[in-house]
Every structure is written in structure tokens, then in C-alpha cells.
Symmetry: C2
Subunit: 200 residues, 2 copies
């Protein structure tokens, strides 16, 4: 399949490299061109699936650059978190409880089929869950069942076994609000080699 | 040991019964007297350890009734969550990110040794973690190391094996903010027989 990965930070690079290694066609988009990077709109227009791997506070603007019509009807995998670093460390969330970044993106691009996932772990675990031993979970939130099925297939190919479909995109509030605990676990353990598992 | 359990809902009853079954002396406190219940101040003055098992929005008032001097120097186990049901279901949190209920209680009763714990699971799992199979975790947040050691011993006696000390009481923000995901997992699974595990 053809994937546009918006964002070329740790998360975007990890996902783009994994997809390419699986034989998918990948175009990475970044504001700074060059190095094989494509303009947002060009990558999005060409792609069948778009991955939002930008920083949360830049996500809506980056997707506007990608272009509403270029996202229409397509699966938009949102892995970003609404982290606000403006008040110092640890970061807070700029949206919680009554909204989520996933919902904002879905509202802004109503014809895109947004699936929130992979936003609850370190970037290298996203594409290599085996780096943490034992069972652990990845969550999905989205309004479109076919889009979630496509994402689930991707996740299984990457080694994910426990994939928890939480429901519609409003359930992204739950996973985005995991970040404050994730940050404190990082501080307590001194590393990011951990993940949440829902024992049941 | 002598325990005062403030609150006689599901959580308070589960904890009081478990403590009594272990041979501890327990006095349960409730605003409605009778049925072997004690006034808050009487239970707190007598006890060595106080458990806050009230609803989050009633916790500070209930502990004021227990009395600042009656809490001074004692371990105060806070298992409540700052749930706000006033905006309908699912509930939101009335404090997040920049504060937590655990911190509010510690600020209000600076001489108490507050340990936030057990607020991330269904009440019957608190005292019987074996009801959910496999490994799963309980968190502790608090400023006083000796108080956390006492709580850890209690938790081990109840069957907890993976006890994660997150750090000081500000880390309660992380566990209280788990509630929105917990609520959505409940909706997705249709039951509360699950718990978080930190795989690592």
C-alpha cells in the first residue's frame, strides 16, 4: 500500500522505516524539504493511508497543509499526543476530558477516517512490541470499523497481539490521558522500555 | 493495627472487611451513624492508620470531619478518585494535570502522611488481586517513605506482587488520570474484571 507519513521525528521515522521494510511504498512529509522528503500535500494526495506522526500542537496545521481533499475518504492513523510543554516539565495536556486531539482531527477533517492508536508507548516499541517482554496492549479509537480493521492488520504485522478496540474516536480521551502516568513511569524506571497491558 | 476506614460504600466496605479478616482492629466511619459505624473524629482519633474511601468530591470535607489533629503524623491511605458526575456520563475529573486529589488532601492535612494507592481498579480487586489472572500492577504515590513501606506491606498481604512506587504525591496526577481510560475499558469489555499492568 501507499503510505504518507507526516512528521519526520523519532515516531515518523520509526513508522516510515518499518512500513518500507515490509514492502509498502512510503513518502515521508516534512516542512523542511530535501532528503527524500515530500511536501505534505503531494505525499497525502498520492497516499492511500496517511499517518499523523507530528507533535500534537502542530498536528492540525500539518494536516491542513496535507489538504482536506487529499485526506478525504482515506484512513488517517493518528499517533500524536496533545502534550503542552509551555508550562515546563512534566508536560501537561492541552486537551483532556471534554475533547481529545483525535476528535479535533476528526472534526477538522470529517471525511477522513481517523484511527487513534500507538500513542501510549515509546516510538521504537510501536513497530517492535517484542522489545518489551510479556503481554502488553495497544489501543484503537475510531468511528470507522473498516479503517480500524486495516489498522489492526498493520498492528498484527508489526507483532502486536493484544489490540484493544475501545470504540469511537471519543475514547481517544482515555488513551491521551495516559500520558501523565507514562511520563511518571519513565521517571520512576529511568527508561522507556515498558508498556501498558490490560490484564483480564 | 488500628484502622479507621472513612466511607462505607463498596470500596470502604471491601477494605474494612479485608482488614478485619486479617485480624486488624477496624472502625468504619460514616455520616449516617448506626450499624456499628463510628463518627469520623472518633474513629480517626483512635486509629493508627486512616483510609479515605469516600467519593472524591466529598473527601476533603470528610477528612475535615475526621479532624486535622486526629490525622497528624498518621498514615492516610487515599484510594479516592476526583470524579465529576455533574456533566453526565462518562464522568470527567474535577482536578487534573496541575493538581490531584491526593495533593489536595496532603496540602489540607500537611501533618498526615498521605499515600495514594488502589485508585485504579474495581473495589473487589483492591483486596483480591487474584480475581484477575496474570500479572497486574498497583501504584503508590506519597512523600513519606515509611508510610509507603507500611502500605506496601499491606498490599503484599492482600496478594499484590507488582507494586509500583511512582514517587511523591504529585505522581497521583498520573494514576487519577487513568480513570477516563478505565471507564472506557469498562464500556468496551462490559465488565470490570480487568486491571492495568506495566509490562517491563
Amino acid at each position: 500500500m501507499k503510505f504518507a507519513v507526516i512528521g519526520t521525528g523519532d515516531v515518523g521515522r520509526a513508522i516510515a522505516e518499518k512500513l518500507a521494510s515490509e514492502g509498502h511504498e512510503v513518502r515521508s512529509a516534512s516542512r523542511t524539504a530535501g532528503g527524500g522528503r515530500y511536501p505534505h500535500a503531494e505525499a497525502a494526495a498520492w497516499a492511500e493511508v496517511i499517518v499523523n506522526a507530528t507533535k500534537g500542537d502542530a498536528s492540525v496545521d500539518a494536516l491542513r497543509l496535507a489538504g482536506r481533499t487529499n485526506l478525504a475518504g482515506k484512513v488517517l492513523v493518528d499517533v500524536a499526543n496533545p502534550l503542552d510543554f509551555s508550562k515546563g516539565m512534566p508536560p501537561t495536556l492541552f486537551v483532556k476530558d471534554d475533547d481529545s486531539l483525535g476528535e479535533r482531527i476528526q472534526r477538522e477533517f470529517p471525511e477522513a477516517r481517523v484511527v487513534k492508536t500507538l500513542n501510549t508507548m515509546a516510538s521504537r516499541l510501536m513497530v517492535a512490541p517484542g522489545l518489551v517482554k510479556g503481554q502488553h496492549s495497544v489501543f484503537m479509537s475510531g468511528n470507522d470499523k473498516d479503517a480500524k480493521r486495516l489498522v489492526e492488520d498493520l498492528l498484527r504485522a508489526w507483532g502486536w497481539k493484544d489490540i484493544v478496540d475501545l470504540g469511537d474516536i471519543t475514547t481517544a480521551r482515555g488513551t491521551e490521558m495516559l500520558m501523565p502516568l507514562w511520563i511518571r513511569l519513565w521517571a520512576a524506571f529511568g527508561n522507556t522500555d515498558f508498556n501498558f497491558h490490560i490484564a483480564r
